[in-house]
């Protein structure tokens, strides 16, 4: 399959079942909501060492938030309920509770409940106040700028983590420009985040390493500087490979985001220095989900 001169590999992205939640962070204005949301989603690029993968899903207009202030919707993904719960509490406790004028609300109401303000309330040292409003419990925790308002719990959903595609092209500048366009298009979609810096990752990994202590190491088959030194996947002229990783609440969301992203990259075509799209997998043995690139782009064509 070739779109606008760009070869779409006959391969698939392999993704895993994860646990996810959504929280809504509001503040006096969008600037402060984003300060808090950026902190909450900081150092959350990969579950390998960050505990969770998190990102800002979208900004929220005042009429979309429970307290009528501007805000941001944040998605967090982890490998287990326990880890998600731990990360949520730590991150909200250190990054939202601490952020001036902030408040935090559940972004998913169904499913198993994760503590949000439930344990953070103890910061109030007995001065915290509970309010049960329309069947949902909120905690008012006195802080130095007034009150921190936090909903008691947020819902958890089964989710999909690790959807991906790789963009192979002529130069660093060209591939990165195409990736930026893809991320811009994908960020318009609901229920997905691209957890890496700017949504793009350059250090794709393979399973295993020559060093016993390491579980994963650089994906040498896709490293352009090793083309002549290892069993390379790269053809001549490919100078850069970048990857976009997608976590979504459902496989349908991940599929939609991949379609949107690949289409945006292919717009650049060979003239824009884009040569090939492929995806990362482990032979289909590890992940619960497979996203076949050609199938996805076939749907797009139809």
């Amino acid at each position: 399959m070739i779109i606008n001169g760009v070869l779409i590999d006959d391969t698939f992205a392999e993704a895993f079942g994860m646990k996810a939640t959504r929280i809504l962070i509001t503040a006096q204005n969008l600037k402060w909501a984003y300060h808090s949301a950026n902190a909450v989603t900081g150092f959350a690029t990969s579950v390998i060492a960050c505990g969770c993968e998190a990102g800002i899903e979208r900004k929220l207009a005042p009429e979309e938030t429970p307290d009528g202030r501007p805000g941001a919707s944040v998605l967090l993904f982890a490998v287990s309920t326990k880890e998600l719960s731990k990360q949520l509490e730590r991150r909200v406790g250190q990054c939202v509770l601490t952020s001036p004028t902030s408040a935090v609300f559940a972004g998913i109401s169904e499913g198993e409940k994760l503590p949000l303000g439930k344990n953070l309330r103890y910061f109030g040292d007995g001065f915290q106040i509970s309010k049960l409003i329309a069947g949902r419990r909120y905690w008012r925790v006195p802080v130095m700028d007034g009150e921190f308002l936090a909903e008691e719990t947020t819902g958890m959903a089964k989710a999909v983590g690790g959807g991906n595609f790789l963009i192979l092209g002529d130069t660093q500048e060209q591939v990165l420009t195409a990736c930026e366009a893809a991320i811009e298009a994908m960020r318009k979609l609901p229920n997905v985040i691209m957890p890496f810096p700017g949504g793009v990752v350059r250090s794709g990994s393979k399973v295993g390493s020559k060093y016993k202590a390491l579980m994963a190491s650089t994906n040498d088959a896709f490293c352009p500087t090793l083309r002549g030194a290892t069993r390379s996947e790269l053809s001549e002229g490919i100078e850069t490979v970048l990857e976009i990783v997608i976590d979504g609440l459902t496989d349908v969301d991940v599929r939609a985001a991949m379609r949107e992203g690949i289409a945006a990259v292919c717009e650049f075509g060979t003239e824009g220095g884009i040569r090939r799209i492929t995806a990362g997998n482990y032979g289909g043995k590890l992940g619960q989900f497979q996203f076949h690139l050609r199938e996805i782009m076939q749907e797009a064509a139809q």
């Binding site: 307290d67 009528g68 106040i129 049960l132 409003i133 009150e147």
Partner: protein, 271 residues
């Protein structure tokens, strides 16, 4: 199907206990069985048909017409369905209510919403004393649900109240929110003396500062409280003026009663 209607023939001389007439207890009963239901009145028992003209067949919607202040325990323990009362009611309306809606087009007597746990009680006229309060011997007053009063309410509103909301569009009498344990009481009119007397936790939301505020409440200053827009928005679907309030967050906060832990609060709207 039309609403099951009980039209009071004449105003009784003695008080009548209407607790058997709820959607729950009348479900599935034929009209002759309903007519034969015995209602306690003083030291006598009266058949429902002696007191009321009974028409209609839908027991999930009950209407009591030509009602008067002698009819007690209307909507006792109701869990679902609706009761509408055209006229006044006696005491204990919606006693131990668990769900559904009870609407009084006239005035309600004492202890309306006493022991209520869920559902919606609407009094278009005035409510008597001890609205949503605890009966002597009860551990706490109202423990959930919403009471809306279109007029004014008497003394000891929400005495020992545990949870839920009491919304008064008119004025509130003395000792509003006394000994309150938690929950919310909002008053759009004036409040009488000793409001929040002995309150442990909970929120009294007032449109103006009481003329005399107990020295056991400490002035915490004026603040923006972000839970208030949520609270106001939760009233949107209710009947009456509370549904039309614009979301606001700025209030003057008085914390008390300091004789009882001081975790309660009186909030007065400020702009």
């Amino acid at each position: 199907m039309s609403a099951l209607t009980f039209k009071l023939k004449t105003h009784p001389r003695q008080r009548v206990d209407l607790s058997p007439l709820t959607p729950d207890s009348l479900a599935g009963l034929k009209n002759d069985a309903i007519a034969a239901i015995e209602l306690q009145s003083g030291n006598r028992k009266l058949k429902a048909a002696e007191l009321f003209d009974i028409t209609g067949d839908d027991a999930t919607q009950i209407a009591i017409e030509n009602s008067c202040g002698k009819l007690d325990y209307i909507g006792h323990g109701i869990t679902a369905g609706s009761i509408i009362v055209r006229g006044d009611t006696g005491a204990y309306v919606a006693f131990k209510m668990r769900g559904g809606t009870v609407t009084i087009e006239g005035n309600a007597g004492a202890y309306a919403g006493c022991g209520m746990k869920s559902g919606e009680l609407r009094v278009n006229g005035n409510a008597g004393d001890f609205l949503g309060a605890a009966l002597p011997g009860f551990r706490h007053g109202m423990a959930g649900g919403t009471i809306i009063v279109g007029g004014s309410a008497g003394e000891r509103i929400g005495d020992h109240m545990r949870r839920g909301a009491i919304l008064i569009e008119g004025d509130a009498g003395d000792y509003c929110g006394s000994r309150m344990l938690a929950g919310t009481i909002a008053v759009l009119g004036k409040v009488g003396e000793h409001c929040g007397f002995g309150m442990k936790r909970g929120t009294l939301l007032l449109s103006s500062k009481p003329q005399v505020l107990s020295v056991l409440f400490g002035d915490c200053g004026t603040h923006n409280l972000n839970f208030l827009p949520l609270l106001i928005n939760s009233w949107r679907a209710l009947p009456g003026r509370f549904a039309e309030l614009q979301p606001r967050r700025r209030v003057r906060r008085y914390a008390g009663d300091n004789a009882n832990g001081g975790k309660g609060e009186i909030l007065v709207w400020s702009d």
